[in-house]
Amino acid sequence: MLTRKSCLWVTLALLAFLVLSLPVGAEEKIIKIGSLYPMTGRPGIYGLDSVDAAEMAIDEINSKGGVNGYKIQLINTDSKAKPDYSVMVAKRYITQDKVNFLFGVVSSAVGLAVTEVSKQHKKIFIGTDHASTQLTTDKLQPYYFRVSNNTFQSMAAGAKYLKELQKTKPWVTIAYIGPDYAYGHDQWNELKYNLDRFGVKYKAVGEYWPKLFAPDYTAFISTIINEKPDILVAGFWGGDTVAFIKQAQPYGLFSKTLYFSPDGGGNYELMAAMGADLPEGLVLSGRHHNNWPDTELNREYVNKFFKRTGRYPTYAAEGAYTGVYAIAEAVKKVGNPDDTEALVKAFEGMKIKLPEDPEGFTSYIDPKSHQIVQEQAIGVTEPNDKFPPAKLMLGKWKVYKAEDLLPPADYIEQLKKK
């Protein structure tokens, strides 16, 4: 017994030694970015894509000599999508690893917790892939910037789409299904607000709130079929979209009702996971599309990502890619990554040309809300096998002007009062 135990102690010691001896960091002039992406569970795919894309951007910049003599370096810690753990890691980044920027985050809840740390330590936090509008409205603090669209922007575009649709295909009734947490509720409230704002006449006939990651939607589907809404707005993301569509399809839901998911519904992992099973005619969008806009920059970005990783990116990746370039841009303007206040000024109003910008438009960061302002395109699923394993991609694009999608002042006031 004793010998077996001593064997084990030796193994443990070896293991500890291996872990201890992993390299932690280098010296010289570097811009250190501390990112907090989840690498496990359902959102793991977004974390993986984000880290790969951020590293791709870093390699591009560093191979051209870096920024003002600085090389960029990324350290990522699996946030486990847990806010309390993320707070700890963010504090470690700031006080131990001495990062220049906090970065990333897929879940809005983690985003809200980390922006609190950023505020207290006056350390800039670049948000790349969390959608809660709060972060750039009522919960905005001076050191936070977001380089991807929030749900309000998606829903404003969605409301415009639905308004136009009424001209060609008169619809009246609308229902909503989305995960029962902040992200799901925000989308529905914001869509209704925007429909009212644009003077769209509609009748809401039902809201359905399955829990996040619910495995089974059968009873929701049969209830919705009984309700027969003209439009079904869905607020799912990732695996929940996949499960819902798979389960609803044989019921014939999509032939009777238009499936509409303008925020996270059109992310590439849906097309990749469903292949030929994805129904045609779903109206979806996301924060970046692999096949729109058809610009040199976007094609190059998508192809480079594919060459690097062997898979096509989800939209999370482009957010991270953008974030690194925005940091490089700001440091270039200021000259060093340490002058936080000057960097904040540099981010405010920054113009940056991105893969997701169509010809003639350049994304910029709104100096007041610290929110990136971007065009949004909504598409319809149609056959397209250029991005395997997907068999369908989005097409028949409708593009919405960036300026029209920002939350109006009275809406922000209303949020702040809450």
Binding site: D216, T218, A243, P250, G252, G275
Partner: protein, 295 residues
Amino acid sequence: MDPSFILMQFLSGLMMATLLFLVASGLTLIFGVGNVFNFAHGSFYMIGAYLAFQVVSSCHANFWLSVLAAALGAGALGMFAEATFLRRIYGRSQEGGFQILLTYSFILIIDDLVKLIWGTEYKSLQRPEGFKGAVNFFGLTIPSYNLAIIGIGILVVVVAWLILSRTRPGRIARAAALDREMLGSLGINVPLTMTLVFGIATAMGGFAGALAAPLRSVSPGAGIEVIIDSLIVVVIGGMGNFWGAWLGALILGEVNAFAIATAPDWASLFSYLVMALTLIFKPEGIFSSRRVRKV
């Protein structure tokens, strides 16, 4: 509510109940027979889904064959886990606590192993040939795959009943649930029985995972999502009771189906409310066959 909608919701509830039951039956079986609480049961469900995906995508095998392979694979892994690890803690004082911890460590390890093998991308399985469409009757549209699953659920119940009541292995299993020591003195190889039962239980988890795969996304973390629900089923029905699991699943499925139709706002709470109510009145579940508390 018109009658055809009531029938439709009933079938939806039955479908949810069947999948819940298929997962929970393994959990309750190993608890009832072996007194083992396998917290990692959901992980075997997840492994079943991944194995089915792997078999279909790399061997282009028939879907039903892949379900079989997934069940066998999950069962084999379960037997390995039982014989190598779990067996060592039987009979230890506070065994229950250590069982939960050990199986909890299985969850953590299996989660990462799955990530190492299959990555974090979502995998997907198609419905089998012949079950892609829907069946129309009484003006209702019901997906044929859903009907197939309901059918399989009924089949599992009948077969399990036959085995448990009519065959010698079934009687041994029931006897093991009552008194393991007595069984040993009757000349039955108890450790082997335990390993086999554990294998059958985890195979049922894998079987359920594979069957559910065409309806869900196969992704990391899938095990966690089902374990809590199946736990509720098992608790409502009475832990270790096969029929209790069946009844618990049925109650949960139907309550959810009709509650969603009438009060969709509160959908995420129904399962827990049903459970809380049951436990307030019957803390050991509806079908508890034995007295839980001796003191």
